[in-house]
């Protein structure tokens, strides 16, 4: 066992990479849940994004087009969920599950011809002297664009929900859809937009997995990342800043356990592999045990069906 081989700066840098897919999916789901919709299909949208992005990137040779395709794929699938839950008023829990089951099968189907192929690499932005700063440069300024994009997205969502009028309307729809409807807001339209945004974010996160983090396509490669993203939204008690914290906490556990596996620590490999899931459960328990904190921020209309009576 050789723990000295673990370099904290590299660890911190890879933590950010490991956290990015989940951060993207979670920030998207945050907006969806803030509008009062519980979409449990994050896993399905992520894996669909992963394969859409991978396939297009391989076919066109352009990772950027791949990421765009992933966002489109994720959003398209999420709109199936949107149509079923908002227009046909189906149960959100069951429809979300259907989305995940369908996404896993559909992605495996498309992905048949892409197993074992290496995707085109994405150029990293050259931040010049910034990247040469010892330690900090390695941690903060040596990443690809998507990592910075994900951080920007967190700030944007925070500003949107907290300081803008559309953000306020979205929250109003999530808190009390009947009142928002009575005020003349288009509840269904606003929710569909939020759902599509969440789908695009999840798709982007999935493509980050298949194009940069791994980078390869394997069936079921998201391995529960979407569910962890859902858990992080609960952990964050529906706040953008806390989503960042939760995702990076999870990224830290994921990276640390991989490093410990590589260093040959005397802990069973399976226990290390299961640790991200166990930590997520533990965090969920801690958050929900505090009755006041957990209930305070949950959107009041979360998961409820909206049907305008006239």
């Amino acid at each position: 066992m050789d723990l000295s081989a673990i370099n904290p700066a590299v660890l911190a840098a890879s933590l950010m990479v490991a956290a990015t897919p989940i951060l993207l999916a979670a920030i998207g789901e945050l907006v969806v849940e803030k509008s009062g919709v519980l979409n449990l299909g994050v896993e399905g949208m992520m894996i669909t994004g992963a394969i859409c992005g991978f396939a297009i990137a391989v076919e066109t040779g352009s990772p950027v087009l791949g990421f765009l395709a992933a966002m489109l794929g994720g959003a398209a699938l999420s709109l199936v969920f949107g149509f079923l839950t908002q227009v046909l008023m189906s149960n959100q829990v069951a429809t979300g599950l259907a989305l995940t089951l369908f996404g896993l099968g559909f992605s495996a189907l498309i992905g048949q011809g892409y197993v074992g192929i290496k995707p085109p690499a994405m150029a990293k932005p050259d931040l010049g002297p910034l990247a040469d700063i010892p330690v900090l440069g390695r941690i903060l300024f040596s990443h690809d664009l998507i990592v910075y994009l994900s951080l920007g997205l967190v700030v944007a969502v925070w500003v949107f929900l907290r300081f803008t009028r559309p953000g306020l309307i979205l929250r109003a729809v999530g808190e009390n859809h009947d009142a928002a409807h009575a005020l003349g807001y288009h509840v269904v339209r606003i929710r569909l937009a939020a759902i599509a945004f969440g789908g695009a974010c999840a798709g982007l996160g999935g493509a980050y997995l298949s194009l940069i983090r791994v980078p390869q396509w394997t069936e079921g490669m998201t391995a529960g990342a979407g569910w962890i993203a859902l858990a992080i939204v609960v952990f964050a008690s529906w706040r953008a800043g806390r989503v960042l914290l939760g995702a990076y906490l999870f990224g830290g556990v994921a990276v640390l356990q991989l490093n410990l596996q590589a260093a040959g620590v005397a802990v069973p490999v399976e226990l290390l592999s299961a640790s991200p899931y166990l930590v997520t459960i533990l965090v969920l328990v801690i958050m929900s045990a505090d009755r006041g904190r957990a209930a305070l921020n949950a959107p009041a209309s979360l998961g409820r069906v909206f049907h305008a009576s006239n």
Binding site: L88, F102, F106, Q112, W227, A231, I281, V285
Partner: protein, 361 residues
């Protein structure tokens, strides 16, 4: 302008008709998907839904498989439906299935080569307990800390898969297996084997258990107080509180029952058709059972039929893979699509469709 008007009560006719309609719509959409894959859609649909039962060449092999595959699906879905009715979402049946299989096989492997009549009943008990215990984790977290049971039960599937890997590579590995992962084959261990009860039918103890579970669930839902409480809690949680239903007890009972049934299904599978504990022996029955539960309208008899139909798509899917080169993943997508259509057409049983312009109030 099309407009929806909520029915005071779900339509009885549509409740029965919508699953059939959903299956028909899925066949059409699935046909389009197969056409997109470059296969003849009519041949593909016939290969999946007709040939396993009626083709002279394949039926002799396929028909028994129907019960083999439907058994675990029905067993798990019956348990899940109880919770779903009460608004308690156990979606980690796959994990409970694995833990039940490990517990059941563990008993057999620990007592190997004991040859006693009580070994198999002991394994059945252990299997149920294993699944029950795994389901008790989300149940107790839910009742004690109000933790979301959907997320916990699902995350525990991944943990269970790691436990399975640890067992297949470590504790339960066959000492005479030449270093390969996986346990002894329980089918070669007569006292522990879950054998066919009637030769050539695919009927094993797990299928018998599934039928018993269906009957028991039917009786419970229609005749027993607990069944009434489950239905009441799902339809109106507030009314249930006033009627003296203890929501925490309901969570423990529903999750416990569904976990135990999933564990049983895993145990019957590992000692029967699968034979041994190995990585990936779980075939996703725990997830497909969710579709079965909804397709069966959360009604025991419906689940029985839905389980048979879903088993047919598994077998037909294998046949289509073999005959037409349709990838296995297509069947998975097909099953997912079925759930989409099912949830979509549900609107017909809950709402009136009204044509005409909306009146301004």
């Amino acid at each position: 302008m099309i407009r929806l008007e909520k029915r005071p009560q779900p339509s009885r006719i549509w409740t029965v008709a919508t699953p059939v309609l959903a299956v028909a719509l899925t066949m059409v959409a699935g046909g389009l998907m197969f056409a997109a894959l470059g296969k003849d859609p009519v041949v593909a649909i016939r290969t999946i839904f007709w040939d396993p039962l009626f083709n002279e060449q394949f039926a002799s092999y396929s028909r028994p498989q129907l019960l083999v595959k439907a058994g675990p699906l029905i067993l798990i879905a019956t348990g899940l439906s109880l919770g779903f009715r009460a608004g308690i979402w156990n979606i980690g049946a796959e994990g409970q299935y694995i833990m039940g299989a490990l517990a059941g096989a563990g008993v057999a492997l620990a007592l190997y080569p004991l040859d006693a009549w009580f070994l198999f009943p002991l394994m059945v008990l252990a299997g149920a307990l294993g699944g029950w215990a795994w389901a008790m984790i989300p149940a107790i977290l839910k009742t004690r800390f109000r933790t979301n049971e959907i997320l916990v039960s699902l995350l525990l599937v991944y943990v269970a898969e790691q436990v399975l890997a640890a067992m297949a590579l470590g504790l339960m590995k066959n000492p005479e297996g030449g270093g390969f992962p996986g346990s002894r084959n329980l089918q070669h261990y007569p006292a522990a084997a879950n054998t066919e009860l009637i030769a050539g039918t695919g009927m094993h103890w797990g299928v018998a258990a599934a039928f018993i579970a269906v009957i028991a669930a039917y009786v419970m839902l229609t005749r027993h107080m607990l069944g009434f409480q489950i239905r009441l809690a799902g339809q109106s949680p507030r009314a249930a509180r006033f009627a003296g239903v203890n929501p925490n007890a309901l969570v423990l009972i529903c999750l416990g029952l569904s976990g135990a049934l999933a564990g049983l299904a895993g145990m019957f599978e590992v000692s029967g058709p699968a034979g041994r504990v190995n990585i990936g022996f779980n075939q996703g029955y725990g997830f497909t059972a969710i579709i079965v539960a909804f397709l069966g309208r959360l009604h025991p008899v419906g689940i029985l039929l839905a389980g048979l139909l879903m088993a047919l798509t598994y077998i037909g899917g294998e046949l289509a893979q073999f005959m037409l080169g349709i990838p296995a993943a297509a069947i998975q997508a097909f099953q997912g699509m079925l759930l989409f259509f099912l949830l979509g057409v549900d609107v017909l049983s809950n709402y009136h469709i009204r044509l005409g312009r909306r009146r301004v109030a």
